[in-house]
Subunit: 502 residues, 2 copies
């Protein structure tokens, strides 16, 4: 990352909105359950970074959520870096006007009821445009949830975050940034991103994009040293040409995954009443995505999985050189199903050479298979499965990715055994420790050495502790086997695209 | 269900294998972690139904897992109803021979190393065929995980189950039965079926199908009063003609969902080394599935979701009359995305009539949308969302299914609020109780009255307690929104098929 970029980015107005040192909040009170703004203030406070520079404005309350409140913005002793507004629509222009008079330059307007609500809303939209122009203000929204910045104040502040969403659970921060015309996609995905180890550093709900739009934020993320992967939820693109030009510059370095929610008749109607956008034919968007190297999907879970896959590829700098998969499993069914879906995606599951098969055969039962998939059947040596076999496959140069299906929750299994009155030997009890000290380190160094990704999977939902061990170590872990070949396919396609352009 | 069926089924050999009163087990010891058979015996014991009639056979041990063991089957004081064998391949014929001499008529042979392992295995397969013929024995396997019967001994025994899988977690029993040529699909799906409320009553891992095959088990399930929906994992079909004839009789009454794992080059190789089957072109299977009304998928999670959808349709006897969806949400993005995927599946999300929209408008904010999707935005009256709006939509006869996206974990939210030092009023605290007493009962009675299914969804993974409340009440609940339109599409297709034939 050039120093140039990091320096110039500090002056970017999006960077300022993401990292205000002080904030005034309109529309919060002490009733967290019934007003969204109250929950949002609660979450701003919980981020822990403002050192007291939070200024609730409230006409009657002396304190809001334990913090001194001000009757008017003019009573606040400083000029806040950011105004956060979640008030009934009709009051918004007046409050904006006051913010302008006070000297506030940046705003987030959460309130809905603008363009998406018909002619009155359009009139109000024009009013807020004019006020912003008059005072040279920039604002996100209206009709948005605001922003999440996991890197708030970084590197000076170590663990603070800035979260204006009403969803209290912050994303785990990392190299993914999201720009979304849906607040839900920006915010309420946190329950899943936390469970799956999808590390989102910045998430911006842009709402109606009256002042700041997709292209503005993309320009910022292009130069943001903390962003390596970008996720977009799109209902419309306002600056089409600029979008295409900009994205073409971004995707060779930072992959972009997008959902386009429009393109069908009823979807167009739904979008009009959501953000007031006019959506276009899917084919237009598909053509734009193809031309610009954007990876697209209609599924929110695929969106999240693809982001994770690309995020890990970026942080480990591992991009596969080809599309050949080696599968190691303890179970024929998943092996067969992954093989089938891989082939349907155009990937290869090649038969291993006799040399490689003889190597593998040394460590598996006679009834097991060494062909590819390797089906080692019921077994007890998990270190073979987790390290030795992946290593053998990587060394062979016969594959470009490894899948290991056979992650079990050993704590759960041992618990069951002990509860049944059986004894566990010391080796078993140490399995957790052995795993922790051996597997993540070895696999990461092998992946880097050979530039070959390893995907792990087991039959458990993500909530199980041994699934979470992989998540903690930033190793790709999958519940069941459906999503692995899908993700590897996306990674291959992206690696090809990137190679072609470099 | 005719009494005829229930009576005749008692004499069925599959029914006997699923409900033995006594069992002898070959190949279990006290080391649960390192031998699969030991874990399997543990799980048989845990099912709690055998009243002491479990007889481990072991050459040296006096007790296996606390139970008196016998050196030879001839020492067992009774003739066991079932022999369960998980021993090295070469010993299997000898042990079968002894079972025959003892008079055991039914067996489960878990051991692998037969057909799937080449010429030696084929020779051994022929040997076990002959022994079975000689003594008039029937067996499941070899190379299988055995069976799970959640209805073991029912209705005499209330809560016993019979589980020979090495996976200790039993499925939650219900009206779904599975026949699988993969043990993993039969057994290791339990971690998900439990979390998602997919109720599997019987699951049979048929392995190499040397003696009992898919068609045998299907014949049994056709007449089984406890089975309403059938799931199949297929690598090959041995009795093609019989399969087609039989399935055509079953699907108009009991829907069948199938995964066919073969059909690609590498998949064929993988399958050969798994169960020794010769797989055929996907197109042949697709044609058979279409002709016989089987719903097919390549995804294990879709397989489970479709089973749940059809299981609930069967138990509530709710089959939609058309493909029109009404969507109620608090969030524009999910509404738009569900609308788009619905239309891509060929479903309709029709604009509501002015009458219906005026009704809805009475209860939503001005900034909200009543068109379809109904986007009620941030709100506090969850009873409207969960009961009143679904009811309005159902009464209108403008839709054939209702989707409600907006299930939150209120306990989690209230916890966050209280931890932040805010007070909760009594209404909020009672939300759980109000929900419990109102929602499931009202929704179920509305669904039955109008024959319209209601699908609920929220942004949480299934592990969250409020997601589990819906699971407990057997209400269809979805994490995120990807899978809802997909499941409703399957239900519509099945309902059409069923209508056409009846």
């Amino acid at each position: 990352m050039s120093e140039n970029n990091s320096e110039s980015i500090k002056d970017n107005f999006i960077e300022k909105i993401l990292n205000p040192k002080s904030i005034c909040v309109f529309g919060a009170n002490n009733n967290l359950m019934t007003t969204m703004g109250s929950m949002q203030l609660r979450n701003i406070i919980a981020g822990g970074g403002f050192n007291g520079n939070i200024f609730p404005v409230h006409p009657r309350l002396e304190k809001v959520q334990g913090i001194k409140a001000y009757q008017s913005i003019f009573d606040i002793p400083i000029i806040p870096d950011l105004a956060f507004i979640i008030l009934p629509t009709r009051i918004v222009p007046q409050v904006m006007e006051e913010c302008g008079q006070k000297g506030v330059k940046n705003l987030i307007i959460t309130s809905g009821g603008f363009r998406e609500s018909g002619s009155d809303g359009i009139e109000l939209s024009k009013q807020i445009d004019e006020i912003a122009k008059k005072y040279n203000m920039r604002f996100i929204g209206p009709n948005c949830l605001g922003i999440y910045n996991g890197w708030y104040g970084y590197p000076d502040k170590k663990n603070a975050y800035f979260n204006t969403f009403w969803i209290y659970l912050p994303h785990k921060r990392g190299n993914i940034s999201i720009i979304s015309q849906s607040g839900t996609v920006a915010a309420q995905t946190a329950f899943h991103t936390n469970d799956l180890g999808i590390k989102i550093g910045k998430s911006i709900s842009v709402g109606n994009e009256r002042n700041i739009d997709l292209v503005d934020v993309l320009k910022y993320l292009k130069n943001d040293p903390l962003t390596d992967v970008i996720g977009l939820y799109i209902e419309e693109i306002k600056q089409g040409r600029q979008f295409i030009k900009l994205v073409k510059e971004i995707t060779p370095k930072k992959p972009i995954v997008a959902i386009y929610a429009g393109g069908t008749k009823a979807a167009a109607r739904s979008i009009m009443s959501h953000t007031g956008s006019i959506s276009a034919d899917s084919k237009i968007y598909e053509a734009v995505f193809k031309e610009t190297g954007i990876i697209s999907t209609n599924s929110i879970m695929d969106f999240l999985y693809y982001l994770r896959t690309l995020s890990q590829a970026q942080s480990y700098n591992i991009f596969p050189r080809g599309n050949r998969i080696g599968i190691i499993t303890d179970s024929g069914g998943p092996g067969a199903m992954m093989t089938k879906t891989a082939e349907l995606y155009g990937l290869e599951v090649p038969e291993f050479s006799q040399e490689l098969q003889s190597e593998i055969k040394k460590y598996i039962p006679k009834t097991a298979s060494s062909v590819n998939p390797v089906d080692i059947t019921f077994h007890e040596n998990f270190m073979n499965m987790f390290i030795k076999f992946p290593k053998l496959l990587m060394k062979s140069h016969e594959i470009d990715a490894v899948i290991v299906f056979g992650v079990y929750d050993f704590d759960d299994i041992m618990n069951v055994i002990e509860k049944s009155g059986m004894k566990l030997d010391e080796n078993m009890k140490n399995m957790r420790e052995v795993f922790e000290t051996m597997v993540p380190k070895s696999i990461k160094s092998l992946m880097k050495k050979y530039s070959i990704p390893v995907f792990f999977a087991g039959p458990y939902p993500y909530r199980y502790p041994w699934m979470q061990k992989f998540v903690e170590h930033d190793l790709p872990i999958f519940s069941m086997w459906d999503d692995i070949t899908k993700c590897f396919n996306i990674l291959c396609r992206y690696a090809e695209y990137r190679n072609k352009l470099s």
